[in-house]
Symmetry: D2
Subunit: 418 residues, 4 copies
Amino acid sequence: MPELIFPLDSTKSFTEQAKVGHNRWHPEIPPVATVKPGDSFRVHCREWFDGAIRNDDSAEDILNAPLNRVHALSGPFAVEGAEPGDLLIVDILDMGPIPDEDSGPLAGQGWGYTGIFAKKNGGGFLTDQFPDAYKAIWDFSGQTATSRHIPAVSFVGIPHIGLMGTAPSHELLAKWNARERALIETDPNRVPPLALPPEPDGAILGGVPESEFDRVAREAARTAPPRENGGNQDIKNLTIGTRVFYPVFVPGANLSLGDLHFSQGDGEITFCGAIEMGGFVDLHVDLIKGGMEKYHVGENTIFMPGRTAPQYSEWLAFSGVSVTLDGEQRYLDPYLSYQRACLHAINYLTTFGYTPEQAYLLLGAAPIEGRLSGVVDIPNACATVYIPTAIFDFDVRPGSGTPYRIPEGTNVPHASAG
Amino acid sequence: MPELIFPLDSTKSFTEQAKVGHNRWHPEIPPVATVKPGDSFRVHCREWFDGAIRNDDSAEDILNAPLNRVHALSGPFAVEGAEPGDLLIVDILDMGPIPDEDSGPLAGQGWGYTGIFAKKNGGGFLTDQFPDAYKAIWDFSGQTATSRHIPAVSFVGIPHIGLMGTAPSHELLAKWNARERALIETDPNRVPPLALPPEPDGAILGGVPESEFDRVAREAARTAPPRENGGNQDIKNLTIGTRVFYPVFVPGANLSLGDLHFSQGDGEITFCGAIEMGGFVDLHVDLIKGGMEKYHVGENTIFMPGRTAPQYSEWLAFSGVSVTLDGEQRYLDPYLSYQRACLHAINYLTTFGYTPEQAYLLLGAAPIEGRLSGVVDIPNACATVYIPTAIFDFDVRPGSGTPYRIPEGTNVPHASAG
Amino acid sequence: MPELIFPLDSTKSFTEQAKVGHNRWHPEIPPVATVKPGDSFRVHCREWFDGAIRNDDSAEDILNAPLNRVHALSGPFAVEGAEPGDLLIVDILDMGPIPDEDSGPLAGQGWGYTGIFAKKNGGGFLTDQFPDAYKAIWDFSGQTATSRHIPAVSFVGIPHIGLMGTAPSHELLAKWNARERALIETDPNRVPPLALPPEPDGAILGGVPESEFDRVAREAARTAPPRENGGNQDIKNLTIGTRVFYPVFVPGANLSLGDLHFSQGDGEITFCGAIEMGGFVDLHVDLIKGGMEKYHVGENTIFMPGRTAPQYSEWLAFSGVSVTLDGEQRYLDPYLSYQRACLHAINYLTTFGYTPEQAYLLLGAAPIEGRLSGVVDIPNACATVYIPTAIFDFDVRPGSGTPYRIPEGTNVPHASAG
Amino acid sequence: MPELIFPLDSTKSFTEQAKVGHNRWHPEIPPVATVKPGDSFRVHCREWFDGAIRNDDSAEDILNAPLNRVHALSGPFAVEGAEPGDLLIVDILDMGPIPDEDSGPLAGQGWGYTGIFAKKNGGGFLTDQFPDAYKAIWDFSGQTATSRHIPAVSFVGIPHIGLMGTAPSHELLAKWNARERALIETDPNRVPPLALPPEPDGAILGGVPESEFDRVAREAARTAPPRENGGNQDIKNLTIGTRVFYPVFVPGANLSLGDLHFSQGDGEITFCGAIEMGGFVDLHVDLIKGGMEKYHVGENTIFMPGRTAPQYSEWLAFSGVSVTLDGEQRYLDPYLSYQRACLHAINYLTTFGYTPEQAYLLLGAAPIEGRLSGVVDIPNACATVYIPTAIFDFDVRPGSGTPYRIPEGTNVPHASAG
């Protein structure tokens, strides 16, 4: 185990820890620790809602989840010698749920959750079809997840870091705020919103001095979207063995991370689609000096996935095109195409007795793949979703026989958005 | 070799063959042959432009490619007993370039091509950055492709059927025409167009009697987009060993296919991104009676990919978010995100001396993967493109050493759109 | 298709062809064609028994198979400039059954066979348990094989070249003959024999002049065993995309090949365990001058497997140790361990209603893997055999439910060794 | 984390622990704990030599390693309701080095070792070529191993349980002792010995009462070989996610385990070829009542490998046949063939500057594969060893360029056997 430079105590809240992290992006959040190129170190990460979601059979916690307080991030960690223009190499050496804590009230203590967020509190990919809040609890057995809310499935997780990124410069932050504000202003009252503006309420800013706190909180960017610095990319392949290259925008690079997932399908389609957990991450860092110019990288990450993602060789795949459910033709819209592909998969899974909510939550959490299969054949983009057949305890393939039916009587917790 | 029920003579044009196929969708195009459930059969397919693109070092043929005449499809093939509501099972038993014809003027005779279409003649995924016409010729050695126009790369192809589908019913055809016309009318003079309306000029309609030809040609849908019947999905995983399930909309199902590709990356991003070829396909068909209702399938294909796609275990991946090159924030737009990810990859590859056009054509043709990595983190969708590192003759990974440079002096054929 | 330099006419026997191959190893067999480094070319190959085994339901042909006449090899092909001490690079560009001949009396015309050879005529890996002759016929559908003699299984083949090698020098040939003769003399009347001495009866020697024929036939080595020159390695991974490096022992290298297999498990355990076929091979050759010394290669091949072997991700594996069925302890004998592991697999498969012969033939033909798992834990070597579960139409895994039973009434053809 | 039912304190020796394990097989060793079918539990395991091998640059510890004291096993664990004739299902949920102990004197505390044992103290697969003692120390970074003794290589480990098995019945134990004694008596003074008889010196027998200790110690079987009960199979695929089925020979099954490996190649060819470590294992157990008869399993394990073994897609493979280095022909001896294949690989690797000892130790530790490629082609068995090319920091493939040379000056610790 490399040196633990950001410990968390599971019995205390995120703001009561020895070292306090942050939940906004701002260049003035001071590093909590400094490492050298070539160093390895361990970081604890809190689950993104800091314990607000419980291991129970109610979805009220999802319905009322405090979105202003996410994501609980560990860091920033400064890297000695890093300067704007460098590429920061981050190797994910190891990661997993909270070590040696097999039970407890905090996601990561032997369990995790997937949520469908209500349309009025965050929404999600299929929020028009699923406007209420739902939840599934997953139990971990080694690398395998099962859920008491979704019978007859189990799968090997692909643990990954949902959110990791370098700090923005003041200039980059200003750019983010300007462009996102411009988008919001095109439809400021939309539910769910088009984007999230800076929000002082709930802001956690690490070691920002009190004198600067209010200003920084008003300027600091929310952590929901991925941006030039990496951020909340929710790429399921940022797993053990993966090497990520981050652009450096401030001296020291100031790397932060959090939002660990036990597993997730491409797209994290239920918004909180992954199996959310707290846990640990072991990282190794290095620098390519001047790497941004050398490799023509202006923004966003480059990465090389690890070698130990779960291997499946049989997939059932569903396709969709960019026509709305009402029959309206859209132009090369893979977002819509992927919605339609996912809805096709959900409809298909009801054949076996799953409710649409169970199927939707499963697609968010299992290691499905989402592909941009065709993006040039006007006017229809074609998107595809691939489900590994081996995650089902039964034969899920279409055939001439009688389809299996799961035992009746289970469903996922539900909270009406009223 | 199963019985050849649709032969093509490479020395004759598509309309001069013993059996004439079609290049439009219409329920009244009569079957050229009838098969039984359980049958296996061989079909020849002409490359999608019926030979208009040549194995030379000019891109004039791409610039002036006759888009009204695509796609040259083999079929329709009726399946005995198929009725609307059934699912048609199609197994791709085998496929490949034109057998025993290793050289000649027709793509598929030992070679294929990838094209970047000019903005004024079709366009493509990155048409604003690449408004002119370009072409790359690929030579086949067994399952491997190399190009005299793009040095220092070679890759194992993933041969697949770009376009396969069942015939639409009159009702479904009417729906297509109505919704696509409505889209076109929102910006009828757009270049490239939003969609392609029925076009009698260049229509090939198989055995439609002369008396009905003009009417059918005015009604028949273009083959460019994928739709409810499958169609031009351009899914690179419709390869040998793959099983596809098609909704049946007319008695007999009336399956047609064409647009064979030697290889392609997810998205077929240059529009003619695949390595286009003519060739042969061996199919096996069967039926799931009443399968659409039984499995809750209303439209679009379901498929199970084969087991022999080329295996790579090291990938270099690029990510993009939905912010335009001009810095405008868009809302959850994975089309834009994938454009940005592909542009990042193209920029990166110029490090090694490739021109942007070489890199763009390579991404279209090689077995890259395009993923919908994040579709819920407002306002930014995150898309990723994965390139197998082993397709390069050199070490393509970022590092502290001096990057390799390809030999100078090669480039792809270019024709200015003027 | 590269130039066909060794054509075979399926209607004629191996010795009546335009170019006549050979079935013995000898440095004086003259090349039938000469190629240059960098050349690609096509070769036809006859199935190893030149048509003696038929597509029927009798095993008499296996019982009486003319072992003196194998293997029918295509070649030798001389490579310009090759000299002793070089490494010959052979890329397998493509291969498959006899093109365009889907039916007929010759294995490779849409079908192939697997045989259990009788103890008195060749024997096999488990000849003490299976002393009689048996046969299974396999039908090819694209890349998939099924057998009317072994129900409820189908698998994607891994076509490969069973036998390929360079010609031995006189010195090397003399070494072979001396050491094999010495082995035979330790038990000259053993059934099956310990090794096969040179045998003029049935010898085919290509263009060896009549004046030298008898002498060469008396000297020439049999083709059964793999040796320093590669030869009958029966490595299932010598498939499409594979690169093999051969030591060169004579000027021109003089490469020969044959014994094509549609599929095979590691070990080819029934002796004729592969699915035998005739067919075509496309090769590309090159040289590493002085490569044997440069890379410290004195003998035997090095190879790099291709990327398109069928992918399976679920395996049922059986282990065995080096104790005989009678309970006698042997010392680190992985041959015995693998026999025991295979017998365990055969016993297991009888659970589902297979006869031992069906199971044995299946293990020879399907893409199973055989591993040397432990070779140091005295006194027991541990060998393991891995069977892909997806080749069965039913759930083959052990569990608490009732095992599936295959339909009764099928078995494999049998001929008693009397 | 499931309940820890067998804890080990790294600061104390194996016999001073709260619960004491064992290092011999005997039915009378009482269970240290009892679990129920369906239970999950955690077990600590000591490295096989209980700390005798140190993280230093001397091989004296290997030369004098106390073979009488291996393997330090955790258990036995009784399973409620298990009876002779059942199959015990063991799922490996998770495993790894000693948790939270990144440094220290015990293998598993952030490091592990591979040893070549001297011919006079254990020997190994190539003991005639390597009669002295050698050692390599490996450092763990997450799932990756590197060694200061073997430059320019790193690889993702495949952690696995080297030794796991159920207790033998008295009858089975008597059979083992009889057959192994018979083997020893054929050459009682052989060095290394043919097998290891019961040896009271160094025996650890858990809770066997003092009154019975001497008798049991004289009867109890050594743990070196794999046998009917599983045991020291050293199968590298008994990794996370793997399900193993064990025959049950005594009431309660009495499962024991140990000899954890961070990584290993097929064969564990240097005898102590794996990267040895102590660590933890999480298991889940269940029963198939009467499973031995139901599935025709008389002995030895069946297993289904997990899904997360490191994925490599490029391999360099070496072949060998059963001819001795002195040129003597042996009959179908894959042990010899695998020796020759491994020696070919070792010779090849010296091209790059590795010493033979470095290459040999690397083949033992890295995730190489060893295949029984041909076992019927008299008189030569063909064995093959596959090395993943990506474990090298340089291009290890044969070619026309100048081979890379590793930096001079490193070698592995050596202790002369005198």
